[in-house]
């Protein structure tokens, strides 16, 4: 199943510009590159004394997090603030929905408070699509992670990291290691790497952590870490959640570290200048050795900085796409 044209209408406006950011699936190489280029400009903003631009001044960005997350939430807040937007954050995990209010009602209430954009993180795959379809079409929806399906801003910030440190994607070999089955980050990364032209994408995991039909992403599958890491340029380590040990998928964290943990020794199998990446938060001694996480090849902390720039880019582009669509609709009205 290749990226479908069917997803195009929902995320894009009539001019092919971003008006929601729901998933990497359905976006062209040009559009992904545009996101990266725009993010580069915002990185420059982050290096100034005044780290703000007035682009979204007067706009309200509402972070609606149905799943707990300090990291993603904070970076989205920061991104919106640096664009001079007003930011509200709702941790819905503890509030009204547990009182029986439906997801749709929660959002409609927020909509009534005249939010211009929602950043949504939800435990169900397809939640962001559902919201984009049912909430007012003028409100941009940014997917902050939906179930196992997608985490497109993480995917893009990983791509920005790779581009900034490796120059491009054409000659790269990238390995994604760990719990692919449950990972929305892995899915977004595989799609983005494929679209951006990476010729050698590898996934490395035990069978219990590989989804059926993984081949459809155009990746090579390895169950042996040593084999999979040979001569790669980039290693993306995925977080292993403790629940996995209880589901019968793995015997213990120790055995996982023994077979799939990124140690200094194993890192040496990759290219000497290979990048070590991780979406965070890292589990030291489970996926990755401390020395590697803190070592010279690790760009884990840089990823955080790039994350703010990517999110600034996506927030601006989606807001911009909404404005362009409104303009187009108005022109069409006038022509009648």
């Amino acid at each position: 199943m290749t990226p479908t044209a069917a997803k195009r209408p929902l995320q894009l406006n009539d001019l092919g510009q971003l008006r929601h950011f729901l998933s990497i699936d359905g976006l062209s190489r040009e559009l992904l590159t545009e996101i990266l280029d725009t993010a580069d400009s915002f990185l420059e903003v982050g290096a100034r004394a005044v780290k703000k631009v007035p682009l979204l001044r007067g706009k309200t960005v509402c972070n609606v997090f149905f799943e707990n997350s300090t990291r993603t939430r904070t970076t989205f807040e920061l991104a919106a603030q640096r664009l001079s937007a007003d930011v509200i954050t709702l941790n819905v995990s503890t509030s009204s929905t547990s009182k029986g209010e439906t997801l749709l009602d929660t959002l409609r209430n927020l909509e009534a408070m005249a939010a211009d954009m929602f950043v949504v993180r939800h435990g169900d795959s397809g939640a962001a699509h559902f919201i984009a379809e049912h909430v007012c079409p003028n409100v941009a929806i940014i997917n902050g992670g939906d179930g196992r399906h997608a985490h497109p801003t993480q995917g893009m910030l990983d791509m920005l990291t790779i581009r900034r440190h490796k120059g491009g994607f054409e000659n790269l070999s990238v390995a994604i290691v760990g719990d692919i089955l449950h990972s929305r980050v892995a899915r977004s990364n595989m799609l983005a790497l494929k679209t951006l032209g990476c010729p050698d994408i590898r996934v490395i995991a035990p069978k219990t952590l590989l989804p059926v039909g993984i081949e459809q992403y155009g990746v090579s599958v390895y169950t042996d870490l040593a084999e999979g890491l040979k001569d790669v340029d980039v290693i993306i380590m995925l977080r292993l959640q403790t629940e996995r040990m209880h589901g019968g998928l793995l015997p213990s964290a120790g055995e996982f570290y023994r077979t799939y943990g990124l140690t200094t020794q194993r890192l040496a199998l990759a290219k000497p200048d290979a990048l070590v990446m991780h979406p965070g938060p890292i589990n030291r001694g489970v996926e990755i050795e401390s020395a590697v996480a803190d070592g010279p090849q690790s760009v884990i902390l840089n990823q955080v900085t790039y994350g703010i720039a990517i999110r600034m880019a996506v927030l601006s582009m989606a807001m911009s796409g909404q404005a362009a669509q409104r303009q187009l609709n108005q022109e069409r009205e006038e022509q009648r």
């Binding site: 439906t102 795959s125 397809g126 699509h129 939906d146 399906h149 059926v212």
Partner: protein, 423 residues
């Protein structure tokens, strides 16, 4: 009312009749074919030129949602919807509230159905109390109250021994048990077929083995207990194959498949549309092809709607948070006609799978046209078309076929000689 149906192409799969002829109905029964009985003066004539007259359709799985789920449907609304789909006899599953495990509930359902008068209802009783899979329900009492067969829905029995005992008990009284084979643990947490589509979308999967592992066990226990068994809602090609092998071994098991399972595959899920959230899930092209072949060859002798209406809220949420089920009984005839249109089945075979086949599987007094048999008839226009959703009688609008133009149109549905629906 004495009725004369003029010039229909009468197809009765049970007897092999396929002929343009007249029908004469009197006293709620079929009085004669071809020639009027002596002294017959019709009170009503129906010009059926260009129409097909078949036995009224027999749908083995229509959830009426009453008692207990009034937001989703009622006996009155859903039997009317069924009549619009050409159905004259239907079976309703035991998943009501309270569960259909007491004769009181069976009597309530039958009373309401009689009051509404749109369709003959043959309830399926619970095999275990409250469908919990622990204690046997009072099968004989339920039989005497009108239940025609017994099942446990998708709920598993607590262990194989309890299941085996239940089957032996049912066998004692020559009762039919309906299986929805799905291994609880292999299916746990799953909402879509475990395959590339579910992986891509990040939806928890139900592997094919959830059906086949349970099916293997169920078939062996059926053989051991000697119970009459009907396997309902098959979703895998492999499962159909296993049924074929069992039948070849001489095991007199029957099977049905949901009509939508013959049409849709898991690719329909690509936009996360909850309209395609069903249990058991939509599976692959290969599964659909295997099921179609089994329907064609007669391994699966019954096609059922597996009608499950829902209120709008039940489907208005992210996929995993929605309730499974498609509301489709009122499209049973035209939707089934797409199988003829696609060249899968010829019309008489399709009608057999919708009338004689299901009736025989559960030994229902329905599904055939014969002198003296109840005048349960469907008159439809094979050249007409139905715009699904133009008129909608079911309380549940959760139907992905709404808006589609389907081949064939129901013109009259008659139950005991009375018009229950006119299109």
């Amino acid at each position: 009312m004495r009725t004369h149906i003029i010039g229909a192409r009468v197809i009765d799969p049970a007897s092999g009749l396929d002929q343009i002829t007249d029908l004469f109905l009197e006293g709620g029964k079929i009085a004669a074919f071809g020639q009027a009985p002596s002294g017959f003066v019709p009170e009503r004539s129906i010009d059926a030129n260009g129409l097909i007259a078949s036995p009224g359709l027999v749908d083995l799985a229509v959830a009426l949602r009453e008692p207990g789920y009034s937001r989703k449907g009622s006996i009155a609304s859903e039997t009317l919807a069924a009549a619009a789909g050409g159905v004259t006899s239907l079976c309703c599953p035991p998943l009501t509230k309270p569960v259909l495990d007491t004769s009181a509930v069976a009597e309530l359902i039958l009373d309401r159905a009689r009051e509404a008068g749109h369709c003959k209802v043959f309830p399926i009783g619970a095999l275990s109390k409250n469908l919990e899979g622990e204690q046997l329900a009072e099968l004989v009492a339920l039989r005497d109250a009108g239940c025609v067969a017994f099942g446990n829905g998708l709920q598993s029995f607590s262990n194989n021994r309890t299941l085996c005992r239940a089957l032996e008990y049912a066998a004692t009284f020559n009762l039919t048990v309906i299986f929805h084979s799905q291994d609880r643990d292999l299916a746990a947490g799953g909402i879509a077929h475990e395959g590339p589509t579910a992986s891509f979308l990040g939806l928890a999967g139900i592997p094919e083995s959830a059906e086949t592992v349970a099916l293997a066990r169920d078939l062996l226990l059926v053989e051991q207990a000697g119970v009459r068994a009907h396997f309902s809602q098959l979703s895998t090609a492999r499962g159909a194959q296993m049924i074929a092998e069992a039948q070849a071994r001489g095991l007199p098991v029957t099977a049905d498949v949901a009509l939508y399972q013959l049409i849709l595959t898991d690719e329909a899920l690509s936009e996360f549309s909850s309209l395609y959230h069903v249990q058991p899930p939509l599976r692959t092209h290969a599964d659909r092809d295997g099921l179609r072949a089994a329907v064609k060859s007669g391994v699966i002798k019954a096609i059922a709607s597996h009608h499950q209406p829902h209120e709008a809220d039940a489907k208005l949420a992210p996929f995993a948070a929605t309730e499974p089920g498609i509301s489709s009984v009122e499209l049973l005839l035209p939707l089934a006609m797409t199988l003829v249109q696609d060249g899968l089945l010829d019309l008489p075979t399709l009608l057999a799978r919708l009338t004689a086949g299901p009736a025989k599987a559960l030994r229902l007094p329905a599904g055939r046209l014969a002198v003296g048999a109840p005048a349960d008839l469907l008159l439809f226009d094979p050249q007409g078309s139905t715009l699904a959703g133009e008129r909608w009688l079911s309380k549940g609008a959760n139907c992905p076929f709404i808006g589609h133009c389907l081949p064939g149109a129901v013109r009259y549905t008659l139950v005991d000689g009375r018009i229950s629906f006119q299109g």
